[in-house]
Symmetry: C2
Subunit: 187 residues, 2 copies
């Protein structure tokens, strides 16, 4: 597992063995089965997760119990309820496995000590936070856009593997279209 | 103007005079009149903007010409089309003044040399990117939430001054409700 984390960080910048040992000491490994929850709406958020393998959905259940999909997270993606993680408030969303999933996790305290002890990790997390911010801004754009075909094509272009791995019903929900519209778009 | 930028950065970390002189040399100042555009959909994105005073809207015009509001940006806020800024692609959104606005701007090249020359600025930009990512995740949540009253109250709690400064029609558009629903919620 460890080499996956190292490879991922070294895509941004090289690390010495000592640096990686220091980084690694701030993470723990967890394994989840399909359908298990990493975060539950209304509860504490203990970690930010780095997905080594598997697939997650970040969801919001509204008052009527309807599930809305904020995002999917797969290999090499960092995901959590960021507001709750950084401000230590209760989760306003849930993070659940769509496949068996292996993750590295880091607590808010370990995140702070890691960045303070090895400032080049701030460079790494800045790249990741920027990518996350961009992905969120694009997701907002996609939600505001009235054109389902465009939304579908953007998603297919950006994350082609989602179309093999995510049930059609969830993809339709993510895109804000009916199951029938999705079938028409993908035919 | 310069002291505004320094105060803003020093909310996160102290700076020496030399450090601030180095930072300042990477920014330029621009002033815009109400209704002017900082970024136009389909054109190049030259800068990330730090708002010293004034108010901006980040918008998307769909194919039918309808305007959608991604976010508002006011004092102390950093805003741009982040995807276009970092990947040097054409803007998929526009940034326009709702009031006369004073900004600091930094180009992608200056952003890189500033971070490389003064790594503590990565600490600062990490905080800002994280806040931006959180705000975007909350905006997605708000768009997915079916409850207009909740959305209205979240916005009022988070940015009370928007309600004095932004025309009601734009607020209603941002919240995804009709002008009439907004009047009912705010009465």
């Amino acid at each position: 597992m460890q080499e996956k984390l190292r490879e991922h960080i070294e895509e941004i910048m090289p690390l010495t063995d000592d640096e990686f040992a220091f980084i690694d000491s701030h993470f723990s490994v967890q394994n989840f089965k399909k359908h298990e929850f990493l975060i539950r709406q209304g509860e504490d958020v203990k970690y930010t997760y780095f997905v080594v393998s598997g697939l997650l959905k970040l969801i919001y259940n509204d008052e009527s119990g309807k599930e809305h999909i904020l995002s999917f997270a797969m290999e090499d993606w960092w995901e959590t309820d960021f507001l709750a993680f950084y401000t230590k408030t209760k989760a306003t969303m849930s993070l659940q496995c769509l496949e068996d999933t292996h993750v590295f996790c880091i607590s808010p305290e370990d995140y702070q000590t890691l960045c303070a002890g090895l400032p080049k990790m701030e460079h790494f997390f800045l790249k990741k936070a920027t990518s996350g911010h961009i992905a969120s801004q694009q997701r907002i754009l996609s939600l505001l856009s009235s054109n389902a075909k465009e939304r579908y094509e953007q998603l297919l272009k950006r994350y082609p593997s989602l179309f093999q791995r995510v049930p059609k019903t969830l993809l339709a929900s993510y895109l804000g279209v009916s199951r029938e519209t999705l079938s028409r778009l993908s035919s």
